[in-house]
Symmetry: C2
Subunit: 408 residues, 2 copies
C-alpha cells in the first residue's frame, strides 16, 4: 500500500496519546465550509433526493443556512436539482441530489489469468469495465501492456478520459509493502519488484494505490458483498494456494510489511500442499489442475466417498490455519472467497465441522457473493475511501469538482 502518512506522535509527560492533534475549529469561513461538507455528506448518503426541509432536519442547521449552502453546492456543481415530486400537499419543494457523475475512480485487478479494470462513479456504481486475458507465462512488460489495454477499454466504454479519474487502486498478487512495491510473488516469476504505482502514474494524473488482491477482495465483500457492515472479518481465499486477508475494526489491515494472513506459510497447516489431496482423487484423473478441484467437489456432492474424504482432508488442513487466525482475532465472520468458494455448498459444512474442535466459538462462515470482479471492485472501494477522506477532511477539502486532483 502506498501513501505513507506519518502521523505525528504527540507525547505528554507520561502518556503517548492515540489520537493525534487535529486542528478543526477556527475561522467563521471554516464553519461554513464544515456545514457545507456536512450537507454534502448528508445528500451523498441519502438514498433519494432530499428537500431543503429534510436537509434542515438532518443537518440541524436553520433553513436559511441550508439554503445558502445548497445554493453554493449547486453553483459549484456538486449537487443538482431534481424535478419536484407532484402529488404532495402544499407547495412542492425543490429536491436536490448528489451528483455522483462529477468524478470517477478506477479499480484494477492484475491477476494471473486476467487483467480487469472497472470505472465507477462516486457512488461506486460500475460504469464500464475492460478485460484482457493473460496467463501464467505472460512476461512482465506484456502484462503491463495488458493493464493499459484494459484501462483504455474501460475508459473508452465509460466515455471518460484519464483526467476524469479522481483515484486509482490496483490489486496485484503477491505481498505489497507500504511503499506499494510488490515484494514477494509465487505465481509470476518476473513480477516481484514491479514499480506499479510509478508505471501507472505516467499516464494517470491522480492518487494511485497498490494493494494485495486478496485484501481488496476482502474490502469488496465488506462494502458490497456478504459481509456488508461487519467490522471484524477474516477473508479466506480458498483455491490451490489458499490465502487470507483481514478487515479489523472496519478497516483493511495492512500490516507492517504487508505480509498479513500468511499463516499458511507454517508447515503444520499444510496449506502449501493441501490441494494435492483433491488432485490425487480418482474423480480428478486426467483433469487439469484448475479443473481437478471442481470435479472432486462435484463428485463429493454426488456422494462419492473417496471425494468426500478428500474434501474432508482439505477442510481439515484449511481449518488448521483458519483456526489460528480465528483464535487470534475472534472475528465476527469468515468469508469464503476464491475459486473453490463456488463449491461452498460442499466445502463450507466440511470446514465448519473441522473448525469445531479447535475453536471456542466458531464464527459465522459465509461464501462470497461477489464474482470474479471482486478484486477490481475492492480497488474501486479503496479509491473511493481515499476520495472521501480528501473530500470530507477540512484540511484537504476539494472545493471544486473540476479540479479534484489537487490534494491538500
Amino acid at each position: 500500500m502506498i501513501r505513507l502518512d506519518r502521523r505525528d506522535i504527540i507525547q505528554t509527560l507520561l502518556i503517548v496519546r492515540s489520537t493525534p492533534v487535529q486542528v478543526s475549529g477556527g475561522d467563521l469561513q471554516r464553519l461554513r465550509q464544515q456545514n457545507t461538507l456536512n450537507s454534502l455528506r448528508v445528500l451523498r448518503e441519502a438514498r433519494a433526493p432530499l428537500t431543503l426541509t429534510e436537509l434542515v432536519a438532518q443537518t440541524g442547521l436553520s433553513r436559511a443556512s441550508v439554503g445558502d449552502v445548497v445554493a453554493e453546492l449547486q453553483q459549484r456543481g456538486w449537487i443538482a436539482e431534481v424535478d419536484p415530486t407532484p402529488g404532495t400537499l402544499g407547495r412542492p419543494a425543490k429536491r436536490y441530489r448528489f451528483r455522483t457523475d462529477v468524478g470517477h475512480v478506477l479499480g484494477i485487478d492484475i491477476g494471473v489469468h486476467k487483467v480487469l479494470a472497472v470505472v465507477t462513479d462516486l457512488a461506486g456504481r460500475v460504469i464500464a469495465s475492460g478485460r484482457v486475458a493473460v496467463d501464467r507465462h505472460t512476461a512482465r512488460h506484456e502484462r503491463l501492456e495488458a493493464v493499459w489495454r484494459a484501462i483504455d477499454a474501460a475508459l473508452v466504454a465509460a466515455g471518460r478520459a484519464a483526467s476524469d479519474l479522481w483515484g486509482v487502486t490496483a490489486g496485484s498478487t503477491g505481498v505489497v509493502n507500504r511503499e506499494g512495491l510488490v515484494t514477494r510473488v509465487h505465481d509470476l516469476p518476473d513480477w516481484a519488484g514491479v514499480e506499479l504505482a510509478g508505471h501507472l502514474g505516467q499516464r494517470l494524473p491522480c492518487p494511485i494505490t497498490i494493494e494485495n488482491d486478496s485484501k481488496l477482495a476482502a474490502l469488496a465483500e465488506q462494502r458490497l458483498g456478504v459481509a456488508a457492515g461487519v467490522q471484524d472479518l477474516v477473508y479466506l481465499h480458498v483455491g490451490r494456494r489458499p490465502g487470507a486477508a483481514l478487515i479489523l475494526n472496519g478497516r483493511l489491515h495492512h500490516g507492517f510489511s504487508g505480509a498479513t494472513g500468511e499463516v499458511g506459510l507454517m508447515e503444520v497447516t499444510g496449506w502449501r500442499t493441501m490441494a494435492g489431496h483433491l488432485e490425487g482423487c480418482r474423480a480428478a484423473v486426467g483433469a487439469s489442475p484448475e479443473e481437478a478441484a471442481r470435479l472432486v467437489f462435484d463428485a463429493a456432492r454426488a456422494g462419492d466417498r473417496e471425494a468426500q474424504a478428500a474434501v474432508d482432508t482439505y477442510a481439515h488442513h484449511l481449518a488448521l490455519g483458519t483456526a489460528a487466525m480465528v483464535l487470534t482475532l475472534d472475528p465476527e465472520l469468515v468469508v469464503l472467497g476464491g475459486g473453490f468458494s463456488r463449491s461452498a455448498d460442499v466445502l463450507l459444512p466440511a470446514l465448519n465441522r473441522a473448525l469445531e474442535p479447535h475453536c471456542v466459538r466458531v464464527p459465522d462462515i459465509r461464501p462470497s457473493t461477489l464474482g470474479e470482479e471482486c478484486v477490481a471492485l475492492g480497488g474501486a472501494c479503496l479509491a473511493l475511501d481515499d476520495v472521501d477522506e480528501r473530500l470530507f477532511s477540512l484540511e484537504g477539502a476539494i472545493l471544486d469538482p473540476a479540479a479534484p486532483q489537487g490534494v491538500s
Copy 2:
C-alpha cells in the same frame, strides 16, 4: 468490555434522538466550543505551560479569540495561570497550564495473587495506589471485598473521594465479553459470570469498563512502556499459562466475543502443557511451580545444558503460537510480558531463534519495561481514553470540570 453509565441510560430513556446523522458543524456557539476544546487540547498535550502567543501559533486562531477562550477556560477551572518566566525580552507573557488535577481515574488489576488499584490524574501520573494480597483459593465475595479495600486504600492515599473519579477500568483474568461479563476463567473456579461492572457501580458514580488483564497490560506497554507509539503489536504474556493481546491500528483489539489471542488453545502449539518442560528440569527439583521456571532460566543463564535445552523446548512451543499470530497480523513489534519476561535475557534469544524458520520477517521483540503494575496502569490508560473521548467530542463535551460525570 462495558461502559456502565446510569446517567446515560436515563438520558436515553428521556431523550429521543432526532438526528441519526452525526452533526459536527452548526451553530456559532458550536464553533466557539470547538475552538475552546481545541485550545484545551493543545494546552493539555504541551510539555510546558504555554503563553498566549504560543497558543496562537498552535491553534491558528487570532490572539483576541485565544484570549477569550483562555479566559473562559481559566474561569471554568480547566487551566491555571503560571508565574511568568523572567529573563525574556519584552513584557513577560502570562503562561497557562492544563490542570491535570481537576479529575482522576482509577485502574484496577484484579489478579489471582493480588488486587491493585491505582489513582492517576488526567496526565496519567500515578497519584496513589492500594494493594491487597489474595490467592488462588480466595472466594469470589472475599476477592470482591479485597477489590473494595484496595480501592479505598488508593483513594485515601490520594486524598480523594469516589466522586472525584471520572472513569474506572478494571482488568480481570479470563475472557471478558462485550457486555463486561467474565465468561471463561481457568485460574479461579468461582470467578466466571461475576458482574463486576454492576458491583463496582454500586459505589463508583462514573463510567466503568471491564477488560481482560492481558489486554490492559498490552495497552499500558503501548502508552507508557516499551511499545510507545507503535501502531501494531502483539503482546505476549509468557508464564505458566501463556496468553496474548493485540494492539491493532493503535487501538486495543477486543474481538467479537472478547476471546482474542487465544491461539494457545490449539493443541499443536502445546501452550497448555509447555511449562512442564521447565518444571521437569533437574534445576527445578523440589521448587514450587512458581519458582521452578525462574530456577531453570537461572541455570540456563549459568550454562546448564539441560536447562538450556528445556528453555529451547519452551521457546519452540512458544514460537509455534507466536508465529501463527505474527504471520496473521505482520505486527511491527512483539512485547514479552508476564512473569517469565524477567528472564528475557535468556528467553528472548531462544524465542528469536525458534521464530526464524517460521516467519518471513521476524518482528522486533522487546521485553516489557513496566512492572507488575502494568495491568492497573493499562486500566488507567483505557479510562483516560474514555475521558478524552467525552472531553473532546462536541456531542458529549464536558463543560465544567466540577461535574464531569454528567455526560453531555
